[in-house]
């Protein structure tokens, strides 16, 4: 199954600076091609660092990340940016760029540094905004948007990149119920219609079954469990991942409900 991975991390280790404790401690994980995968784990377990390593934003202190079998360290950053789009947990832009300007930055890996966007790029950016149900934000300064709206704009920017693979760090955190469901529906559509590979860091365990194909659970900087949502969303697995004996997972109405007893 590991050969089906588009992005693959092997025995990854990482610490923010020498002398600092390791955040990722020997993580091995394959982001499978054309699948919708989730990365879950407790706060501080190393999820965000792991997804940054897979996105090529950080270089591992040990181990190796490959993109389509090629070591990521040897892939030109702009070439990587055409294939892999990453959306950080939060983007705090200081200058009042319009939402369209921000989305248009997603087109930059596709043109030389001396070319400005063409009308076609503007069209692609507008389509990306419309795809996340945010066309009405186009002319608004991003500094005036709510956290959720900013997240939609960041997601539209990633879509405007027209990548093969989307890596999203907690994209649903600031979204309301409707936009959260809308986001997952959209990611599924991207997978089904374009064969997009998606990895999502999330705390939203209720979204996993039946929307996601794969779940990777991180504990103390290592992938401690992985498989289908049904494999991972079990009392004993979740109790270990979150270090919480009160976690419960139950299947009903064709989906898995997860909660912690109060």
């Amino acid at each position: 199954m590991i050969t089906a991975a588009l992005i693959e991390g092997r025995d990854l280790r990482f610490a923010y600076g020498g002398g600092q404790p390791e955040v990722v401690r020997g993580a091995t994980l394959g982001v499978e091609r054309g699948r919708l995968s989730a990365l879950i784990g407790a706060n501080g377990s190393g999820k965000s660092t792991l997804i940054r390593l897979l996105a090529g934003l950080l270089g591992p202190t040990a181990g190796e990340v490959t993109l389509g079998g090629v070591p990521l360290a040897r892939v030109e950053p702009r070439v990587r940016a055409r294939r892999v789009a990453y959306v950080p947990q939060s983007v705090s832009t200081v200058f009042p760029f319009t939402a369209l300007e921000v989305v248009l930055t997603g087109r930059s890996p596709h043109s030389s540094r001396f070319r400005f966007e063409t009308g076609r790029d503007v069209e692609a950016a507008r389509a990306a905004l419309a795809a996340v149900d945010a066309a009405h934000l186009e002319a608004r300064p991003v500094t005036e948007l709510s956290g959720g709206e900013r997240q939609l704009v960041a997601l539209a920017r990633a879509l405007a990149q027209e990548p093969e693979c989307l890596l999203l760090d907690e994209p649903s955190a600031a979204l309301d119920l409707k936009h959260r469901a809308g986001l997952i529906r959209h990611l599924r559509r991207l997978r089904d219609e374009q064969g997009m590979t998606v990895l999502v860091v999330t705390h939203d365990l209720m979204l996993l079954d039946p929307a996601f194909d794969r779940v990777h659970a991180v504990r103390l900087g290592r992938v401690a469990a992985e498989g289908s949502p049904a494999d991972v969303l079990r009392d004993e697995v979740l109790a270990d991942i979150y270090g919480d004996a009160y976690v419960r997972a139950r299947r009903a109405f064709g989906r898995t409900f997860v909660w912690s007893e109060l």
């Binding site: 892999v84 983007v91 200081v94 200058f95 300007e101 930055t105 540094r113 400005f116 503007v122 990149q161």
Partner: protein
């Protein structure tokens, strides 16, 4: 592709809003402003210029080509440099209050230049004026110190950045005073005269020598315009879009230090040009850094030519330091921006 005429006109519409079209329009307008400013700056002065006399009067020709024209060109070159550096630093640090003066780059350059003057103005290192080299080194050092202090892991703290700039400026100013104290009398006077700052210049010789340093700096910054645009939106996103953030930052340090070092070495500390000009450009032409940088270059030239024209004429026969004019205009703008930024961060 069978587009209806409606769709076609829509695409045409979209094209007109692209950054490239905006830049072309903005540059056209600003070039008109620049030409008008140049003409005005050449015309006014202790003696109004009589264009007709240039053909007949040898003395008028001497004043015009030996003094007036070089000075106006010098003001344009320095103003363009400061406007461009201000725009680049603001984008890189994601801080609308960043500019050579507030970040301590000018202060570091001034300290370096004072050291050079104390050792003798005419000294050369490998054929280059020592004062340029020392000012560049001082500017470089302060950029690195300020940046190191303000950067924590993945973010640059905006408050820490400006505070570090203030501290570097204060320390540098103290250094200049100490050097003045220990330098011999004539050199101390030279440093004092120079710290006041003036664009007074005779002939084009100095302008040419400056351009050897400035042109590479300009080219580096303008080549980095797109990287800086992406960085201004968000650093992590820029990195994920393929920008080599560390390399771009280093190149900006070097180019900014080169430009600020040389302008400080020649004209003294001229503050706030790098603050007012990019801000005015943003208000007129929007936030796109690829538009803001070249426009700040052109508008910076026009702005300092006019500020210098005011400095030359407002006292009649006497002359005010141009740095005083830009500070009087720029201080209030800085405070207004500070208030506005606080409102943004409070949200």
């Amino acid at each position: 592709m069978d587009l209806s005429s409606n769709q076609k006109s829509e695409i045409k519409n979209q094209k007109s809003v692209t950054a490239g079209a905006r830049l072309a329009r903005a540059l056209l307008l600003l070039t008109v402003v620049l030409v008008a400013s140049t003409a005005l700056a050449l015309w006014v002065g202790y003696q109004r210029l009589d264009f007709a006399a240039l053909w007949t009067d040898e003395r008028a020709r001497l004043i015009f080509f030996g003094l007036r024209l070089p000075r106006v060109v010098m003001a344009g070159v320095v103003g363009a440099s400061l406007g461009l550096v201000g725009a680049a630093l603001q984008a890189m640090f994601r801080n609308p209050l960043a500019e050579p003066l507030t970040l301590g780059v000018s202060g570091g350059g001034a300290l370096g230049a004072s050291v050079a003057i104390a050792f003798g103005m005419g000294a050369r290192v490998a054929g280059l004026p020592f004062v340029f080299v020392a000012a560049f080194a001082g500017a470089c050092l302060s950029v690195v110190v300020v940046y190191r202090l303000a950067r924590t892991g993945v973010t640059v703290l905006p408050g820490a950045l400006l505070l570090a700039g203030v501290v570097v400026n204060t320390v540098a100013a103290a250094g200049v005073v100490v050097i003045q104290y220990f330098a011999d009398y004539s050199r101390a006077l030279q440093i004092l005269r120079w710290t006041i700052g003036s664009l007074d210049v005779v002939g084009f010789d100095l302008v040419w020598r400056m351009l050897i340093f400035l042109v590479p700096g300009w080219v580096i910054l303008l080549l980095l315009a797109r990287d800086l645009h992406l960085l201004a939106v968000d650093e992590e996103t820029a990195e994920s879009l393929g920008v080599n953030v560390r390399r771009s930052e280093r190149l900006v340090y070097v180019a900014a230090s080169l430009i600020v070092g040389v302008t400080v070495a020649v004209g003294g500390t001229i503050g706030f040009v790098g603050l007012i000009v990019p801000h005015a450009v943003r208000l007129m032409f929007g936030e796109d850094v690829r538009v803001v940088m070249p426009c700040s270059f052109v508008l910076g030239a026009a702005f300092l030519m006019l500020a210098d024209a005011v400095a030359r004429t407002v006292l009649g026969a006497g002359e005010l330091p141009v740095g005083a004019i830009t500070a009087l205009a720029g201080g209030p703008v800085f405070l207004w921006l500070l208030r506005r930024q606080q409102r943004y961060t409070a949200m």
